[in-house]
């Protein structure tokens, strides 16, 4: 049997009765209803329901009845719900309970100018957050060096191990391939001028000054920076950071200092590893693809790479280490209270780190160039 609704108007013409029969459920949609709005406006003063032959009902029926009763109420028509099933009457009563809605509705739609304004404010807020965090970190390091910072030594050694030896395999693989690729591309160009041997200069200088520190930093941003943001963000969600604060432990000392110090200390070592492995990658191409003698390649590399090139790379790697740890910890500590915000904090930590690394590297390159180093 199909869902049916028949309308009846009494002899006086002032009462409308809707008689429902059959099953009125989501599975029997669509329903065919008489034109209720026009029936209601025809001098009707009261509305009745007859559900004696109604077989089944669910939310779909509730939606229809709710719409009809609301329409009737707006037109000032008396709605008599006695003929409805008990369940529907109770549900209708529940839906009409008043709710107090706070004024700040979370509207997802906003205009162009509103969006520009929101983004600008967010940028200002983020800059203020960064500056504040920098100041907090500075104060935390003063406490650290004066022996007043409260943190766990085993946490520190764990993070040293985590962002040092644990990161070596991935750093080794990527650096080898970067050196390998650099040598390949350089070889094709230099061969045209018969200057194959300068592949050693190209790879040696690029790895020590630029690519070694930068590749190590970018890998660590994706690996450790993201992990810091996720760890600290989850701790915010679980109120672990609040628990530390209420115990009188400064979360910056306890959570941020060990992580940041470990990464700042380990990053130059990772960069040294990256430099060396990248040069080895280039060495393979030089010896096996360009037929340069291994001794010659070695001597050319030693001749090209000076201590100052190496030191430039080291200075960069310390700063990059700070930036990666800074972004990871900043985003984690300022994470919201939901699972969603942990994801956002992690993504933002990686993106911000990489952007800052590239900008800082450009600045360094310009600066060292001006100084003639």
């Amino acid at each position: 049997m199909n869902p049916e609704c028949v309308s009846q108007i009494n002899d006086d013409g002032d009462a409308l009765s809707l008689c429902f029969s059959g099953p009125w459920t989501i599975s029997t949609l669509p329903f065919s209803l008489p034109d209720v709005p026009s029936l209601l406006t025809d001098g009707i003063s009261s509305l009745y329901f007859n559900t004696d032959r109604l077989e089944q009902w669910d939310s779909a029926f509730l939606v229809e009845i709710s719409a009809i009763t609301e329409m009737a109420a707006e037109l000032g028509i008396t709605v008599v719900t006695d003929g409805l099933p008990d369940g529907i009457r109770k549900l209708l009563r529940l839906t009409r309970k008043k709710t107090v809605i706070p004024p700040s509705s979370n509207s997802l739609e906003s205009g162009l100018f509103e969006e520009i304004g929101k983004q600008s404010l967010a940028l200002v807020k983020e800059s203020v957050q960064m500056l504040t965090f920098t100041g907090d970190i500075f104060l935390a390091y003063i406490r650290f060096f004066t022996g007043r910072a409260r943190y766990l030594k085993k946490d520190f050694t764990f993070f040293l191990f985590d962002c040092g030896p644990q990161a070596l395999p991935i750093i080794t693989l990527i650096s080898f391939l970067v050196g390998f690729t650099l040598a390949f591309i350089g070889a094709v160009q230099l061969k045209m001028f018969g200057a194959d041997i300068y592949v050693a200069n190209l790879v040696g200088l690029t790895m020590t000054r630029e690519m070694g520190p930068m590749m190590a930093a970018i890998i660590m941003a994706g690996r450790t920076g993201a992990s810091y943001a996720a760890q600290l963000g989850t701790m915010q969600v679980n109120e672990e950071v609040d628990a530390l604060q209420t115990m009188g432990i400064n979360p910056l000392d306890f959570l941020v200092l060990p992580r940041m110090t470990a990464l700042i200390l380990m990053m130059p070592l990772l960069a040294i590893c990256s430099d060396f492995i990248g040069i080895v990658g280039g060495f393979f191409i030089g010896c096996f693809s360009l037929d340069i003698s291994p001794i010659l390649y070695y001597e050319q590399t030693i001749k090209a790479v000076h201590l100052n090139h190496f030191l430039v790379g080291m200075i960069k790697s310390v700063v990059f280490g700070y930036l990666v740890a800074f972004c990871g910890c900043l985003k984690g500590m300022n994470c919201g209270r939901s699972a969603d915000s942990v994801g956002k904090a992690t993504t933002s930590a990686v993106v911000t780190s990489i952007v800052l690394i590239v900008i800082t590297d450009a600045g360094f390159t310009f600066f060292f160039n001006v100084l003639g180093i």
Binding site: A60, S66, T99, S104, N106, S341
Partner: protein, 254 residues
Amino acid sequence: MTHSEALITVDNLTMAYGDFVLQKELSFTIRKGSIFTIMGESGCGKSTLLRHLTGLKRPAAGDIMYNGINFWKQPLKKRVQLMQKSGVLYQSGALWSSMTIGENVALPLQQFTDLTEDLIREIVEIKLALVGLKGFSSYLPSAISGGMKKRAGLARAIALDPEIVFFDEPSAGLDPISSKMLDDLILELRDSLGATIVIVTHELASIFALADDSIFLDTETRTMLATGNPRILAKNSDSSKVRQFLSRSTSVRD
């Protein structure tokens, strides 16, 4: 209201994590249209039993029957169909934080029905109104209180007009007034929707206000100590532990 027909029958159920048996020899019946509470001390396996009843965890031994159908002997497709007949309200509401309240409630309707977006929107509004959250559709879960999250979770749980609604410690973290309001809402929804309600709780006020039937799980013996109406169990249970629990006392002795 009388409820005689069995909706869920649990027969000799053993729950285990690996070799560790959490509870064994659990046998009870949940009657259609009734409110059934799962009681017991912390760590006795109440929430694990709920995971078994909702089809999230396979029993180590024993059977769980829905309307006479043995759940774990069905193919995956049929099991998914059976699972869709139930709604679950988790302890924290478990709302998907990247979606608005309205989208949370709409998702099961979008995934499992062919309804038009307009009708889904209307149903979502009705469901939210039922739980007292009319007008909160566009709010993100992070913007509402814990009690409201639970009510929004309830609106999502009843989105598909389920036959059975499971509640995992609905009163946890709520003040007494909000807790009482949620209990009243559960009763009203049971009476109006005719759904069967299964509640994991150790809130005595909720147990006495709501339950038609109950089961008491014990940590020491790792099995059920009693099953029946909690008001009757409080006075006449053979187990002193059950009487102690239900009278919130430490002095009841055999």
